[in-house]
């Protein structure tokens, strides 16, 4: 294997400083973005159902579930830029939501953090042999030489252009399904999902547990936010510099996990009583006041899903299948 060295010519001290900056930023950049810009409240807003009027609110939950699964199949089979296009499409769909501006902002930060986190997570550590196999080349273009001791942290000795491409391309396998999943949760009430899953004969207790889980995710953020604030009010991180605040929030969240869990589990019996008084699980089947309906929007969505599969088939036929093996490094 041969390397073509293309790194900029800089004084050794500057090179060292940049290497360490990238090392630290690679590890902490996505954390800072999440904690400083999204925060616990931000996660609450992008995981909780709020009613609205947009097109996605009118689709049936089953159609949305099929969309999530189809997107995953599509990105796992096709070339990276198809995943990137689908990511863009689903990011644009966030504009159709209720209170779109705030949700787009939070989800953009989440997306940026995921892209940075996943691509650096892969680029710095992927062995040259994998890149050689992925790009079918024996020549790698070195854009940066790490200090030799970085290998102890699992880094490859050189950062190559191919490794950066590899990391970025892998990222788009995660982003489109992630956005599609969030859109499903944001635009579907748990009880709606329950009705539609019951229609496809999914066992009732499983649907019930799934519904409880869907409802619990935003509540976890809500309760955790309260517990964190209580700890900060009691003096955790008091008088410390402002730039350390995100890390104190993290420590408070860590301390707050078990109390949050106890609080949620203590409330479980009331949920169970509420369900039992409505005769939940007393018979294998149950009746629903609201009938399961498919609207015109659903038929249009199914047409688009079909078009997606046709596009995948065409891409595969023309040799735009999965170009890079994902081997989990």
């Amino acid at each position: 294997m041969s390397f073509v060295f293309q790194q900029p010519n800089l004084p050794p001290l500057v090179e060292l400083a940049i290497s360490w900056f990238v090392f630290l930023f690679g590890a902490t950049g996505p954390i800072v973005i999440i904690l400083a810009f999204v925060g616990i409240r931000g996660f609450l807003h992008i995981t909780r159902f709020e009613s609205g009027e947009g097109i996605l609110y009118r689709l049936s939950p089953l159609t949305k579930l099929v969309i999530v699964i189809s997107i995953t199949v599509a990105v796992s089979l096709t070339i990276w830029w198809f995943g990137a296009i689908l990511t863009l499409v689903f990011w644009l769909l966030f504009f159709t939501l209720n209170e779109a501006k705030r949700k787009v902002l939070y989800v953009s930060y989440l997306l940026l953090s995921s892209i940075l986190g996943v691509s650096t997570g892969f680029a710095f550590y992927t062995p040259y042999s994998v890149l050689q196999m992925a790009f079918n080349t024996n020549t790698l273009n070195v854009v940066w030489v790490w200090p030799s001791y970085f290998t102890f942290a699992g880094y490859e000795p050189y950062l190559t252009l191919q490794a950066l491409y590899y990391g970025l391309q892998i990222t788009f396998r995660f982003t489109a399904p992630m956005l599609a999943g969030l859109l499903l949760v944001l635009t579907t009430t748990p009880s709606d999902l329950m009705r539609y899953l019951a229609k496809v004969k999914f066992p009732l207790p499983f649907i019930f547990a799934l519904t409880v889980a869907m409802r619990t995710v935003p509540r976890i953020f809500d309760i955790l936010d309260t517990v964190v604030k209580l700890q900060l009010m009691r003096g955790l991180g008091y008088g410390k510099p402002a730039f350390l605040r995100p890390f104190y929030v993290l420590i408070a969240a860590l301390y707050g996990l078990v109390p949050t869990l106890i609080f949620l589990m203590k409330g479980a019996k009331y949920t169970a009583i509420a369900a039992d008084t409505r005769a939940f699980n007393s018979t294998p089947r149950r009746t629903y006041m609201k009938e399961v309906k498919y609207t015109r929007a659903d038929y249009v969505a199914w047409g688009l899903i079909l078009a997606l599969y046709v596009s995948v088939a065409l891409l595969l036929t023309f040799g735009y299948g999965r170009g890079i093996p994902y081997v989990g490094y």
Binding site: A27, T28, P30, I31, L35, F43, T47, L65, V68, I71, T72, V73, V75, S76, G117, F152, A153, G154, R173, F174, A176, P177, A180, G181, L182, L184, V185, P203, P205, F206, F208, A209, L210, T211, V212, A213, T216, V217, I220, F221, L250, A253, L254, L257, V258, T260, L261, I262, M265, A268, K269, T271, A272, A275, F280, L316, P325, Y326, V327, G328
Partner: protein, 238 residues
């Protein structure tokens, strides 16, 4: 060309023979069904048990993919094998759920729902149904075996006797189940499912290293998880 991201590669260099893996999962499924029937099957689960499982699956998801993923970035990569923040947190939460439900099947169902939920929010069902089968019949089954062997008194919950006996039982059972939880990822996933799904060569020295490096963290958090599960169960039942 595979199905849903599953390449279906068998006979990759170093890969565990598919017959061995099938034999394990058929055997595991038979045990799961036999244990489940003895316990009264899914009918034995009350509504509140399903609520515990639902909350546990949601908490495990939030920990593994959001809080744990953020904290995990701060762990130096050389130590990430020893301190896998996301995974260890999931184990901790599953232990708490199991201590509250204490019916055979609680572990497998919690893992199944956790997978379903992770797919819904994060992975988008790529590689399914492999992960449902793999995680439920390894991690989930190990916890359920703990319930079966202790006769429903897992992690010392419901055991009569001195407090120190209860605590010792919670710690020992947590440690043993934690040790078992260290096995599936390197052996089943690293040496079979990963090459089966994506292809590639199995590096056995890496797998042995993974197995050895997972054990300390899993045992320590297993012990803590067992103790915490016992305490949380008491706090919730008040």
């Amino acid at each position: 060309m595979g199905f849903n991201g599953i390449g279906g590669y068998i006979n990759q260099p170093g890969e565990i023979p598919v017959e061995v893996v099938i034999a394990y999962f058929v055997f595991a499924l038979a045990i799961a069904i036999a244990l489940g029937k003895r316990n009264g099957g899914l009918k034995a689960f009350k509504t509140v048990d399903w609520v515990y499982i639902g909350i546990g699956a949601a908490a495990a998801y939030v920990w593994e993919f959001i809080i744990g993923a953020i904290i995990g970035r701060a762990v130096p990569s050389g130590l990430s094998n020893f301190i896998s923040v996301g995974f260890l947190g999931r184990m901790f939460i599953v232990f708490v759920v199991v201590a509250l439900v204490r019916k055979i099947g609680a572990g497998m169902i919690t893992l199944f729902l956790f997978d379903f939920f992770s797919d819904l929010f994060h992975y988008g069902f790529s590689g399914e149904p492999m992960y449902f089968i793999y995680e439920s019949l390894t991690y989930g089954l190990f916890v359920d075996l703990g319930i079966a062997i202790t006769g429903g008194k897992v992690f010392g919950v419901g055991v009569t006797g001195s407090r120190s006996k209860t605590i010792a039982l919670a710690a020992i059972e947590g440690g043993i189940i934690g040790l078992l939880w260290a096995i599936p990822d390197p052996i089943f996933y690293g040496a079979f499912f990963k090459p089966f799904l994506y292809g590639g060569v199995v590096n056995w020295s890496r797998i042995i290293y993974d197995l050895i490096s997972f054990i300390p963290g899993d045992v320590v958090i297993g012990i803590l998880g067992g103790l915490a599960a016992n305490r949380v169960e008491k706090a919730v039942q008040v």
